[in-house]
């Protein structure tokens, strides 16, 4: 792999706080190595801004290895940038060419208000989990881990859904700003396991109600969420959620 350096123009969304209207601002960065990660490139820009006495750009990030789900950024019209099945922190600068202009926006959704610049408030996701994204088992109540065999395919499918990192790319990508992929990943994860069975009806109902309350849109099955998901969570999970919901509403006692 040939390494190279590049000069770039960055068009970055700046917004002082939640109330501020915000707008784009252009920045130039020079001698960016193709070996840098995208966030390291932003680190370089921030160091430059601090040196020049300007306010550095705020962006969320933590693990920088693609698993914590904290980094976001809508880069050139795609959540987490152009690489497939990838998070912003794992996007590297060899994805860009010398002289390119990169447009960086925050996640856009009514349910994800901007905190500052590129940082948004995703606590709505936590509240959706609070509404039912768990199995009600207190510590110490558990029976032996092997007392209940679980079909391997079901366990694997549950794991594939549970891989969701809660980054919000699905919401950012969806034209309706719907959180259905996030929600359905959790509903599927728990519905596929026998341990999740006792609460399956109330879970799906309450979690959907909470999603609506938080101000996310409805799913129209466009598939943009799946295409943007860094963990390639399948849109089939949404269909499974719908099944759970339909089943729960038909068989509910009241």
């Amino acid at each position: 792999m040939q390494h190279y350096n590049m000069n770039l123009t960055l068009k970055v969304w700046r917004q002082k706080n939640k109330e501020d209207k915000g707008g784009f601002q252009n920045y130039q960065v020079k001698d960016i190595s193709s070996e840098m990660s995208f966030l390291e490139m932003l680190d370089v820009l921030n160091e430059q801004l601090i040196r020049d006495g300007q306010d550095p750009i705020a962006f969320d990030h933590d693990c920088r290895e693609g698993i914590c789900g904290m980094c976001s950024l809508y880069i050139n019209g795609k959540p987490h940038g152009d690489w497939k099945a990838n998070t912003t922190c794992q996007l590297h600068m060899r994805a860009f060419k010398d002289g390119e202009t990169i447009v960086i926006e925050p996640w856009r959704a009514g349910a994800f208000p901007v905190v500052k610049d590129l940082v948004v408030d995703r606590s709505a996701f936590d509240r959706i989990i609070q509404a039912g994204g768990f199995i009600s088992v207190n510590t110490g109540n558990a029976v032996d881990g092997n007392s209940l065999p679980i079909n391997k395919d079901a366990a694997d499918a549950a794991f594939a859904a549970a891989m969701c990192i809660g980054c919000g790319a699905c919401v950012a990508a969806c034209k309706n700003a719907s959180a259905m992929l996030f929600l359905s990943a959790k509903v599927s994860h728990l519905a596929l396991l026998p341990q999740g069975d006792p609460e399956r009806k109330s879970r799906v109902f309450n979690m959907v109600a909470q999603m609506d309350k938080e101000g996310f849109g409805a799913c129209t099955n466009t598939g943009a969420c799946e295409a943007a998901c860094p963990k390639e969570i399948s849109i089939a999970n949404i269909a499974r959620l719908n099944k759970e919901y339909l089943f729960a509403s038909i068989t509910a006692e009241k």
Partner: protein, 657 residues
Amino acid sequence: MLDAKIPAGSLDQKWTDYKGHCKLVNPANKRKLEVIVVGTGLAGASAAASLGELGYKVKVFCFQDSPRRAHSIAAQGGINAAKNYQNDGDSIFRLFYDTIKGGDYRAREANVHRLAEVSGNIIDQCVAQGVPFAREYGGLLSNRSFGGTQVQRTFYAAGQTGQQLLIGAYQALERQIALGNVKMYNRHEMLEVVIIDEKARGIIARDLVNGNLERHFGHAVLLCTGGYGNVFYLSTNAMGSNVTAAWKAHKKGAFFGNPSFTQIHPTCIPVSGDHQSKLTLMSESLRNDGRIWVPKKQGETRKANEIPEEERDYYLERRYPAFGNLVPRDVASRAAKERCDAGFGVGTSKQAVYLDFADAIKRYGKIEIGKEGRENVSEEEIIALGKEVVKEKYGNLFDMYEKITGENPYELPMRIYPAVHYTMGGLWVDYELMTTVKGLYALGEANFSDHGANRLGASALMQGLADGYFVIPYTIGNYLADEIYNKSISTDHEAFVTTEKEVSNRIEKLMSIKGNISVETFHKRLGKIMWDKCGMARNAQGLEQAITEIQQLKKEFWSDVKIPGAINEFNPELDKAGRVADFIELGELMCIDALQRNESCGGHFREEYQTNEGEALRDDSNYMYVSAWEHKQEHTWELHKETLNYEVIKPTQRNYK
């Protein structure tokens, strides 16, 4: 005199006896008792959830935007438990023994035994929560093997075990939040412990969104704030991982145990340039199939593929024929450093060695051909089939490597180099996980822990969850039972006011420096000092130099740091400045600790103390203790020793030849 409060009785009865005799709090009183938990990783989330379930009023704090982001999430390999599901001779005693031995005999027997005892319950609990562990076709749980053990006791969920366990604990925590037992404070950083009448009674936290300081009361405070590997600047820790909470507690009277014990993981992706902000781990499991080598010639310029077999030095296989590429982490790391320092390193930086899968690919390819019973198969076809097998086993790791380096590890050997990964040191705690400050507890990686001088793979997750789910719910009751007479203290209490003032003064002081050098630059400089002089190998001269350099760095920091923005706004640079200031102080203590320990053990390798063959040389007669440091004043600490008594295990020299 340090009292670890280890219960009397035989080792395997201590925890049972303790649980049978510790004080309890009745449900009506639990409702009146408030507990503060700082950090939401495996230890914090599990503790908060469990205490909430018991009925305590719990407040939880994390600096990230959600409790689910805590860095436990990045753990790849697995979690150990003495279940013996594989019928291969595992037992509580064996897990206990392996952990003590792996820790190079610098851990407390009673704690480690308790850890092994509850390990099985953790798996049960997690399964009940819906953690999708890997399973066999019969529907039962699957296990894999890990370094430093001879049994298969590691439970896993592909390469994302930490994520799955954390999500399990996070969900349990969110459930308690929904039930109103726990109150969550996201994007809040603890900046001070409030101590009233020699007991921890609360914290001062800063809302990172608006910069406001808040006072929170608690009858007890639990620090579950992880490790401090970021003192090295470059580590596999998350960018936000920090020592601040633990350090504040330390300065308020909590002793710091074994600060110099750091784990350097041998297989990480090497540094690519000055811009590097963090390092990424490649799972230990790769060493099962990869062969590690460097060229035999110094300053080799040919590409890996062009170097013939006889000019390659498989140095681990050469030095440690018995364990080969599977020697423990500390040994593998030091061997890589030795080769690179001697000028045999590869890559542009020359600070890397090769991890080569070519042999494994051929071997697997031949097995596949064998299964099909074919003969006269071309070399290319064997390699193609072998690649498929390797992809099946390690595909996600190979993809991650390619994303970061841009190189295809199926064609070229991976370049790897050791990196800081975990800190065995931390706040000193007794058997009940209480620090030397009453009512102040430390759980998980934040305490000096059960791993002695070196942690075995897949044991960090086990310890975090053991502390949170199964230890603290008992031991905290033993303390809080006497607290039922103490009503909640108003946060208008003088101690809260003065402590808050201390915090705001410090923040104002930081902001008023208005110097020329960014926080990041100071952090990098600290990291370089630490890595060069207190990293994989240390010596007295280097450590002494490091102490002087760090003291100088501290002066410079407090006179020339440049922090943009204002206090009362979302200001990540200010948050970082506070953390780096604490790292600088910690760095000094780490060097002091490394300097006083005139022996080599586990992750602590003092160049003066090695065998003729370059192996670590322990000194059990003089250093079989935990060093617990008490902060006295700036640059001054007092050493307290907790002598380690091995009643059951006889320490021996580790030998992997």
